[in-house]
């Protein structure tokens, strides 16, 4: 861990709003209370700021090309041990959405001499279970164990990575499970919105144009040969990282990596950065029917930035001010002022390639139209009511100061390390990020907000009752209403 002492001129400012007293007690009440508690009206001054703790990462590369990433934490005898792969869902070939996820999941269906159940029991004997997670930019296989079980757990992970069985029956079982999982998801408004949103924002042909799960139509057609081909093409030491966090040193990690992954060979290369999608004005409002739904799921957004983009941190702050916190403009308006929703949020997802800016909320069906207008008004509002110094300082402090609290667990450290690998970030990413955020001035943040929050360029996806959408959204003139069913196996697909 690295400790940074921030020269922060902004702490006092963060308290500006608290000193704005509202309820003046009536004379009688004040008298009754004898005002012995009046001192409470003054918010406390913060103590001496503690050093900011950021996670530290070490890196080595073995002769076969395998990257080793380590983040040490020794207070508990606990280790998160993983293999991160650079190929994620964005590496799915055209028409084979879901292939990465099914392939990685099939790894757990048998490895070395162990079938799926024996593998599950072998991990259970170490007091744990393996997991696989697949994102757009990469995938991770791993587990978390007591330090004394680390060697045995790494041996099992190496079996999975170096000796996967990829048997027909196992693949078929995994594929059927994926289809069953999808059959469940098609009832979920959020899933329907997210699937449609990816298609609308990036386009069906773009690597980010679908979710990692695929759709029933694409998964149905996957074969064992597809999975083997994906694995052969993408799995190799040059396109993977051995990621270990917790009670371990770099020397120990390197010894483990040599012992179990030293003979891993192969020439698979990291996948290329996805090309930026076209960014255009909105022409349509795309919607998915969910008859009788008494809330409407609203998702708005556009392609935004990739990791490392010069606008990245300014947009991060602008998105926070707009919708990144409970106290942000969007949530305070839709939830606290209007009572339209249980919550509204926005964020920017800087990926390996250009990722999206997303603003979303589930709103009461009968206020679908007014809620959409408020979304638009808040986006427009960034021009009409420019970001204030106070908003900026609050967002800046909130983002920076939340960093230590985000790294309490060894699994969180491992995920952060894998993310550096996937996005080609430097090992001192967090220090650089903090320095960049500290240095940002208001005009730059305002400029970026205006650049990215143009309502005319925000795509709109809705999931809700057809009548509600017809009656409330049509009159707003936001674009031609276009119904989609993201799960129908369209001939065009």
């Amino acid at each position: 861990m690295r400790r940074i002492l921030l020269a922060s001129p902004i702490l006092a400012l963060a308290f500006g709003c608290a000193t704005a007293q509202k309820a003046e007690p009536t004379p009688a009440a004040a008298e009754a209370a004898a005002d012995t508690e009046a001192w409470r009206a003054q918010p406390p001054r913060p103590g001496v700021p503690a050093e900011l703790v950021t996670p530290t990462f070490q890196k080595r590369v073995l002769e076969n090309g395998l990257t080793i990433l380590v983040s040490e934490r020794h207070d508990l005898p606990l280790v998160s041990v993983n293999v991160a792969f650079s190929a994620g869902a964005s590496a799915d070939p055209a028409g084979k959405a879901g292939l990465a996820e099914v392939t990685y999941e099939t790894l757990l269906e048998g490895a070395g001499q162990l079938d799926a159940l024996a593998l599950d029991k072998a991990f259970a004997d170490l007091g744990t279970a393996p997991y696989v997670s697949v994102g757009q930019d990469g995938a991770m296989l791993g587990t978390q164990v007591l330090t004394r079980n680390l060697d045995a757990a790494t041996a099992l992970l190496a079996d999975i990575v170096l000796r996967p069985q990829f048997r027909e029956a196992s693949f078929e079982r995994r594929k059927q499970q994926q289809l069953a999982d999808l059959a469940l998801q098609v009832g979920n408004p959020r899933f329907l919105a997210s699937e449609t949103f990816a298609e609308v924002v990036f386009g069906e042909e773009h690597p980010y144009g679908k979710l990692s799960s695929g759709t029933p139509a694409t998964v149905e057609k996957l074969t064992l040969a597809d999975a083997r081909a994906f694995w052969k093409r993408h799995a190799g030491p040059k396109a993977a990282a051995f990621v270990v966090a917790g009670d371990i040193t770099m020397d120990q990690a390197e010894a483990l990596a040599r012992k179990y992954f030293g003979k891993w060979s192969g020439n698979a290369q990291p996948v290329a950065r996805p090309k930026p999608p076209a960014s255009s004005a909105r022409e349509r409002v795309t919607w998915v029917a969910k008859p009788g739904l008494n809330q409407t799921m609203i998702m708005m957004g556009r392609p935004a930035v990739q990791a490392g983009d010069p606008d990245e941190y300014a947009l991060e702050l602008a998105s926070s001010i707009f919708g990144g916190f409970f106290g942000s403009r969007l949530n305070m308006n839709l939830r606290e002022a209007k009572g339209f929703t249980y919550g509204a949020r926005a964020y920017v997802d800087g990926r390996r390639g250009v990722g999206p800016f997303v603003a979303s909320s589930s709103v009461r069906a009968d206020v679908t139209g007014p809620a959409l207008q408020e979304f638009i008004a808040e986006l427009q509002g960034v021009r009409e009511r420019p970001i204030t110094e106070e908003e900026l300082e609050q967002a800046r402090e909130g983002v920076i100061r939340a960093i230590p609290g985000s790294f309490e667990s060894v699994s969180g450290l491992a995920s952060a390390a894998a993310s550096l690998f996937w996005k080609d970030r430097p090992l001192d990413h967090y220090e650089k990020m903090i320095a960049a955020i500290e240095a940002l001035q208001l005009p730059a943040v305002q400029q970026v907000a205006e650049k990215y929050f143009d309502p005319a360029k925000m795509h709109i996806v809705l999931v809700g009752d057809p009548q509600v959408i017809e009656q409330q959204v049509q009159p707003l003139g936001l674009g031609k209403l276009e119904q989609r069913d993201p799960l129908r196996p369209a001939a065009a697909r």
Binding site: P46, A180, E408
Partner: protein, 470 residues
């Protein structure tokens, strides 16, 4: 992807021995339970507020965590959902804290794990702040404990009624199986049992809440004598005590309120509910029983059985229904441990084309086997490890759900002492194949349970699309 997610959570919840003390526990050897202590100090202010301090300086953060010993259990049966609605009011400002500023102020200090939650037995409020902002967190918490009513307005109540009704729409009415699960729950706890409202309550009762209700509820249940403050993390002990005294010491005391006396409920038959599911796309069956309360005999047996039934690919229900026969998309079994009475639930979501009756027959066959033969020693050992694991992995965090502060609070609330981790885990050492068999025979009675069949309406476009996609 429910099955994927649960596997991932299990993977993350691996065993760790608290506070770094070798030798590490093993499945075979008796565990070194003394090492599982969480050093802390507990004391009580003259006004009745309990205080728990636990120092831990791994990171420069400190968790402030308040439990009010009031939950849905303490509501008026004509005001279901009120304890939770009231929790929302606690974020609307108090005499010295501006309207609606609480969360925003903490967020801009870099607070994490910032929330309030209401369950059946208690309400908690927590935030993890950079350690130099401890005083701000105490100022905010003390102001709403002492001066909430000075700031409550009819307008803020009205807004939060709307927000909570939106929460009900989002988490119950438009959530897959939300309304179905609510029906099953209400069959387990018929009105006027205070668990009947399932915390969120009914739209009618939420609408009926008045300013007078807010005032009465606050005066009765939010007295310092009905609350416990935990501070866990990086702080100076003498300074923390001084600040606690400064902010909470002068809050007026009131006697600790008496919890309502509620008779235990029992089912006298099998209740079968067939629900026309409007949101989810696959049929689900769930079976639930009333079971012993949190920490009562039988509670640990229920936890172990749940693990043996549905944790991991080689668990009984998963292997048979999901892995082998491929009848179910997912299965889960869990004991929901509660203060008055607990609930044991088994649920399975069908794959397309499989009926809930088929799933129920399979579940019953597996349960019959457990009632006859119990579970194996090996299953108990693995369940024990995994359960221990889940608890101890939570110790990595000072705050948030299931972190150190919450754990200390939970033991304090249910057992009267904060550090009962070793006792809690020791309960699982006493579980035997025979005790699980006894639990299955006596408590999981086929004639005294609620069976829910939630079967989707087949007319919706999404259902049609599913069939088209297959």
């Amino acid at each position: 992807m429910k099955s994927v997610l649960s596997a991932a959570l299990l993977g993350l919840a691996a065993p760790g021995l608290a506070l770094a003390a070798p030798p590490a526990p093993t499945a075979e050897a008796p565990r070194d339970r003394e090492k599982l202590q969480i050093p802390h100090e507990k004391y009580v202010l003259p006004n009745g507020l309990e205080v728990i301090l636990a120092h831990d300086d791994r990171l420069p953060v400190v968790a402030v965590n308040l439990w009010y010993h009031v939950g849905a259990y303490h509501e008026d049966p004509d005001r279901t959902g009120f304890a939770h609605l009231f929790e929302h009011m606690m974020f609307q400002g108090s005499k010295h804290v501006p309207d609606d500023a609480h969360i925003g102020m903490l967020e801009k200090l870099g607070a994490t794990s910032l929330n309030g939650t209401t369950n059946f037995d208690r309400t908690n409020y927590f935030e993890t702040v950079p350690s130099h902002h401890l005083e701000t967190a105490l100022w905010l918490e003390s102001d709403r404990m002492g001066f909430l009513l000075d700031a409550v307005t009819p307008e803020s109540l009205k807004t939060q009624q709307e927000v909570v009704k939106n929460e009900r729409r989002q988490t119950t009415e438009t959530a897959p199986y939300g309304l179905a699960d609510e029906k099953a729950w209400q069959a387990l706890f018929p009105a006027p049992h205070p668990y009947h409202g399932a915390i969120i309550g009914s739209m009618e009762h939420l609408d009926a809440a008045t300013m007078e209700d807010v005032r009465n509820f606050f005066r009765k249940w939010y007295a310092p004598s009905n609350a416990t403050l935990a501070i866990v993390g990086d702080f100076d002990e003498a300074e923390a005590k001084r600040l606690v005294e400064k902010y909470f010491g002068s809050l007026p005391s009131a006697p600790r309120p008496e919890a309502p006396k509620v008779e235990k409920v029992a089912l006298d038959r099998e209740v079968v509910i067939r629900h026309d599911e409007q949101v989810a796309s696959l049929p689900k069956v769930s079976v639930s029983w009333l079971t012993p309360a949190f920490f009562e005999p039988g509670d640990a047996d229920a936890d172990v059985l749940a693990m043996a039934l549905s944790s991991g690919k080689a668990s009984r229900l998963y292997e048979r229904l999901v892995f082998d026969k491929r009848l179910a998309q997912s299965v889960s079994a869990y004991q929901q441990s509660l203060g008055a009475q607990s609930v044991f639930t088994i649920e399975a979501i069908a794959r397309p084309g499989v009926s809930t009756d088929t799933l129920l027959a399979e579940i019953d066959a597996i349960l019959d086997d457990v009632r006859e033969n119990g579970v194996t020693e090996e299953e108990i050992v693995r369940a024990r490890n995994k359960f221990e694991t889940g608890k101890i992995a939570g110790l990595q965090s000072v705050g948030g759900f299931g972190g150190r502060a919450d754990l200390l609070q939970s033991y304090n609330h249910f057992l009267g002492e904060p550090d009962r981790l070793a006792f809690d885990l020791a309960r699982y050492d006493e579980v035997t194949p025979e005790s699980v068999r006894k639990f299955a025979r006596e408590t999981l009675d086929p004639q005294r349970r609620v069976v829910l069949h939630a079967v989707p309406t087949q007319s919706g476009p999404s259902a049609a699309a599913t069939q088209g996609g297959r």
